[in-house]
């Protein structure tokens, strides 16, 4: 048993360390080729990324990334590839914003209502893919990608003046939600930390608890490992697929909430796009574990924050995109390399032990 833990430790620590080291070496090479000093770039990133104002930005930005990665991770644990988090969070935020802008209830009622609408819409949108997968056998990879475009079209249709939107200069957005529905903020001297971070932490805890401490979580993970084995042990696989897509979509619905409730107060043509795809990378990086995802989200926010500063110091800000891409690639490769190494190591040891046992047997027979 101890032996096994050591192996797992090597896989778990070895792989990410290897990946980050490899990413740093490769990035340094790329910066060197472009004729700049890589160490100076890292220094700029560290110095700027650790200022108080950066810390506030990083916490706020990573809240969004964390929720998005969590939504993706639910699917991953189940062996479902939900590429549709992007469409799910946008359509969820849009309808939540429309409902929030139309009502003016006390905040204590309206904030939960807005959040529930978002989770509901996200769940329905993802659920479509789940139902199509179980009833018609359509791959969720295809449907979720297509549903992303459809979400964009639906939002585009309703987000016009006279339907659910209103004009504001060159932008169109839903009516602002009332002030009572603004989320609480943790004020600091250099900016406010979005109160939604509390909900994100809570969501992370619930994710861990449900997956690891409940019957449902066990079923979900077992379907992810092997559908046939799970079915044989009495798990309703089809129901699990729909349920986990719905859950994934509900969490995706939360992604837009920090922005809606704490920053923009409406859904407009300037609402952030593409966070759902960032979530896929972070879920991979964090190995679907809430703590890993949280660290990945913080790292991503740190890179986003320092990208602008790198450009300021004369580096191309695309360097940051290169770093991100290399890290994800390295993580995937490193896990595979370390896993194979550990497997070989284990086989070798088992072989040795068997050989030793065999020679003992012979010795006994001989005696």
């Amino acid at each position: 048993m101890k032996r096994l833990d050591r192996d797992k430790l090597i896989t778990a620590v070895g792989a990410p360390v290897l990946a980050v080291l490899a990413a740093l070496v490769l990035t340094s090479l790329i910066i060197l080729i472009s004729g700049k000093d890589p160490f100076r770039a890292y220094q700029v990133m560290i110095e700027f990324g650790t200022t108080d104002r950066s810390a506030v930005y990083i916490v706020n930005k990573s809240t969004m990334f964390f929720l998005s990665a969590l939504a993706v991770a639910i699917g991953f644990r189940m062996n479902l590839f939900n590429i549709g988090v992007d469409g799910q969070y946008r359509i969820a935020a849009f309808f939540a914003a429309a409902v929030g802008g139309a009502l003016s209830l006390p905040g204590l009622i309206q904030i939960p209502l807005i959040i529930l609408v978002a989770m509901g819409v996200g769940a329905i949108w993802a659920g479509i893919a789940g139902v199509l997968r179980t009833t018609r056998g359509v791959s969720e990879v295809i449907t979720t990608i297509m549903l992303n475009s459809i979400a964009g079209a639906v939002i585009g249709y309703y987000l016009t003046a006279g339907r659910l939107g209103e004009k504001d200069g060159n932008l169109t957005h839903t009516p602002n939600i009332p002030e009572s529905s603004h989320i609480f903020m943790f004020g600091t001297s250099v900016g406010d930390i979005n109160g939604f971070v509390v909900f994100a932490v809570l969501a992370g805890f619930l994710y861990w608890f449900v997956l690891n401490r409940t019957r449902f979580g066990f079923d979900l993970r077992s379907v992810g490992r092997s559908e046939t084995a799970a079915a044989a042990s009495g798990v309703d696989v089809k129901r699990m697929i729909v349920t986990s897509m719905v859950l994934s979509g509900a969490v995706a619905g939360l992604v837009g909430m920090p922005t809606l409730l704490g920053e923009s107060y409406n859904y407009g043509t300037d609402f952030p796009l593409g966070v759902g795809f960032t979530g896929i990378a972070i879920a991979l990086l964090g190995r679907n574990h809430p703590v890993g995802i949280a660290l990945g989200a913080l790292l991503w926010a740190f890179l986003e924050r320092t990208g602008t500063q790198l450009e300021f110091e004369g580096y191309d800000q695309k360097i940051v995109e290169v770093i991100k891409g290399i890290i994800v690639l390295c993580v995937v490769i490193a896990y595979e390399v370390v896993r194979r190494w550990a497997l070989r190591d284990q086989q070798r040891r088992v072989g040795e032990e068997l050989a030793r046992a065999g020679s003992n047997d012979k010795a006994e027979v001989g005696a």
Binding site: A12, P16, K61, T160, P272, Q317
Partner: protein, 340 residues
Amino acid sequence: MRRVTKIAAAGVATAALAFTSAACSSDDSGSSDKGVGLAFDVGGRSDASFNESAARGYDKAKKEFDIGGKELTARDGETEADREQRLTSLAEAGYNPVIGVGFAYGKSVNKVAKDFPDTTFAVIDEASQAENVAGITFAEHEGSYLAGVAAALKSKSGNVGFIGGVHNNLIKKFEAGFVQGVKDTKPDVKVDVKYLYESDLKGFQDPLRAKGIAEGMLDSGSDVIYSAAGLSGTGSIEAVAAQDGAWAIGVDSDQYRDKALADYKDSILTSVVKNVDVAVYDLIKSVQDGEPLTGDHTFTLKDDGVSLAASGGFIDDIQGDIDAAKKKISDGEITVSDTP
């Protein structure tokens, strides 16, 4: 396993920090009057259109006044916080003026300007809402009017088309001017108006969709197509170039001279040029002269803020009519409406 993953994750973070902080060495950072801070919209300096025009004015001013400058570019999928950060970085480092290129910076410029009362800010295509902000807008409708005149005179079929990138107030100004220009010149010419997207900003970078719509217009008889759609316009120009006798009208920069469009330049009748460079240069000059521009400024046809390009010589034969229309607008004889 769970505990182990936690330790692993912590390991990643420490390793990353250790590795990077070990790499620290040199340093430098200063402040005060460094020159111009320019924040581009998505697409950046070399978008062959809007941003590039701003960059031209910036380059000219930098050279002429022998000052420094810093250019930063927007990424895809930004939030207000990102734009605010970019402008704050520039102002904090001592750049003056700080210019946001594009209406995306409308809110953030006006907000950040309040934190830096001694710095002059400017935003292109959006109004000013703070004391030290210059809101620079253009009379796109006046330039488009001239394009309408040219289209009406050059059309043989009596049908012309307008393709807008996004159905917002800015692009509606182009439509309004163009339609009025056509109707004032030849009332019986029909104008087919289409927008790529109702509100989605990707309408400015979807050449395929523009190409499809342009092909549809050509099929239904239009022979001059004016696209006000940023990068998408390249798609409709491509479609027009494939049909003999059809003309495309470009936008923002003189697209006849655009290297990326060199294959199609013989089909580009003219372009409605938005002289963002003139505006950017004027703003930098005003700061250099110690009398910074603030408040709203509209650059019109009269002061060459917008103009109609004559490159290629395709409109030489009708230049007289265009000059006459331009004079009428400048003299106030014709008022071009900015809403359709």
